[in-house]
């Protein structure tokens, strides 16, 4: 008999894990389960709409289902629709690769005031995530707190002119939101010196290509290592770039102390500078891009403790490591984890045949891989000269397209 493995979460870490497991042992029964009706996690809902090249890894992931025999069970919320115990008795091995989707808060006074929004919330809304709220009104002068690539993604999208979005899969509503934003000045603020920022220098350089902005970089300081120097070079290269009316300003070494409000609206961010002065950086909204944490629907600490024990429970990706690392890091990690799981499996004599995926049978609409392909086909059919895909953003409409659409046999 073959072992049955459930991977909860069909993001990059779950998909790379399935790929590595099935490459080593084609006979394994690998099922990927996701709360969304569609696979690929943050590749679809995090990676920016204008970075389609990075999204192309989904071609590899498609092969897991099309050639390697993995199965997809979408629209299944583990912890609610099925319990962890049910999953554990239905499968020989359970892996949690559910990511970390909640925005970390600033942890300062007033950090939940109206007008303070998380980068995750905005990027989900920009990427048409079915559970995203409406796109917020950022006002004329948004301030982005954070020095990672997610902050750069947001600045870039806010700074792009409409025709710089050609070829993306940005939706019509999102396109309108950007075009009508009325943004005049964007500030990107970080607590550490520029040389310690987590920006990828290539992402900073990319900002230099934007035609509709004028960029300035304040107090970048000096570097004492190679990465830092590369970053400073990239920042120096975009400093003073462009003459457009809309501005982007980078500010470093400012420690946020409190969100300032007036009449319940954000008016600024109080910060301490390196000199020890307190100043208020004025703004109309604050976007926090300072990392992610778990949304709390699964007990992460318990699961990570189980994963460290002898139980056939494992954790992968951001859920295991924390909100750090790019898609290639997940691939490298998944290959190591796959080897661990396979080594552990070798020691375990096969028990009685487990029910596996029959667990998900019932009244609920479960989206399988062919169902996802029906969604995708409809999304691609909406493409035109300006957009490579038009995403279906509504959960009911996705399920309709996947499960109830009239079969057009070919």
């Amino acid at each position: 008999m073959t072992h049955k493995i459930a991977i909860v979460g069909a993001g990059p870490s779950g998909c790379y894990l399935a790929q590595a497991l099935l490459k080593a042992r084609a006979d394994l029964g690998v099922d990927l389960i996701d709360v969304l009706p569609v696979p690929y996690g943050l590749v679809r809902y995090g990676v920016a709409a204008d970075h389609q090249g990075s999204k192309a890894v989904t071609r590899q992931f498609a092969r897991i289902f099309e050639r390697q025999g993995a199965r997809f069970f979408g629209n299944v919320h583990v912890g609610r629709d099925v319990t962890r115990d049910e999953l554990r008795s239905a499968y020989d091995v359970v892996v949690f690769a559910t990511g970390l989707a909640a925005d970390r808060r600033l942890g300062i006074a007033n950090d939940a005031a109206p007008g303070v929004v998380g980068a995750g919330a905005i990027t989900r809304a920009l990427n048409g995530h079915p559970d995203a709220g409406p796109l917020p009104d950022l006002g004329a002068r948004p301030l982005i707190v954070g020095n990672g690539n997610v902050a750069v993604d947001i600045v870039r999208l806010l700074g792009k002119l409409p025709d710089e979005l050609t070829g993306s899969d940005l939706g019509p509503e999102q396109t309108r939101w950007l075009a009508e934003s009325g943004i005049e000045a964007i500030t990107v603020l970080g607590r550490s010196p520029a040389a310690q920022a987590k920006f990828d220098p290539v992402m900073i350089k990319e900002l230099g290509k934007l035609a509709g902005v004028a960029i300035t970089v304040d107090n970048a300081g000096t570097a004492d290592d190679e990465h830092g120097q590369k970053l400073l070079d990239a920042l120096a290269a975009i400093d003073g770039d462009g003459t457009a009316a809309r501005t982007i300003r980078f500010v470093f070494s400012h420690v946020p102390l409190a969100v300032e409000t007036q009449g319940g609206r954000v008016t600024g961010l109080r910060c301490r500078t390196v000199q020890g002065d307190e100043i208020v950086v004025g703004c109309t909204s604050i976007v926090t891009a300072i990392g992610f944490e778990d949304i709390g629907d699964l007990p992460r600490a318990d699961i990570l403790a189980q994963a460290d024990s002898a139980a056939p429970v494992y954790a992968a990706g951001w859920f295991r490591r924390g909100p750090r690392g790019t898609i290639p890091d997940n691939r490298a990690d998944a290959q190591v984890l796959a080897a661990d799981i396979l080594a552990d499996l070798d020691g375990v004599s096969a028990g009685p045949e487990r029910p596996g995926g029959t667990l998900f049978e019932g009244p609920r609409d479960v989206v399988d891989y062919p169902g996802w392909l029906r969604i995708e086909r409809r999304e691609l059919a909406g493409a035109d000269a300006a957009r490579c895909r038009v995403k279906i953003c509504d959960r009911a409409a996705m399920i309709e397209a996947a499960c109830h659409a009239e079969e057009t046999s070919s």
Binding site: Y16, Q19, H51, Q52, G53, S54, A56, V57, R59, Q60, R63, G167, P201, V202, K205, E206, K230, I327, P328, R331
Partner: protein
Amino acid sequence: MKIVILYGTETGNAEMLAEDIGDALDADHEVTCTNLSDFPVGEFDAETLYLVVCSTYGDGELPASAQPFAEVLKAGATSLAGVHFAIFGLGDSEYEETFNFGSKRLAELLTQHGAVQLGERATHDASGVDLAEDLALPWATEAVALAESRFGKAA
């Protein structure tokens, strides 16, 4: 003919393509597929055709899995005289100034050490419309034909 497909990758696209090329050539040739990170520089031999598939990262740099290989080659006086290779690059024209520099650098490095490049370097653009395999399979067929005429049909 003996064919070794070497790939340098970060997210796995080059590996998938290398496997596709391997599948296409497998019936008529003795093919193996290896990550550059697992290929010792001393193992090159003159009777084998090397098909190299390599992506680009950073600012026109080699992908992580090709870097140790390149470091070893740069550091030593390894001679690749008599070694024949063809090279295919994966890149993204979003990075216009360094488009497919990874495969370009790797080709230069191999030829600097005396290896002979067969045919033109071919490239894929992740932002383009073509599928990588649609470009790479004709490239591979061509490289094999060039190698056959070099090595003599019998090889």
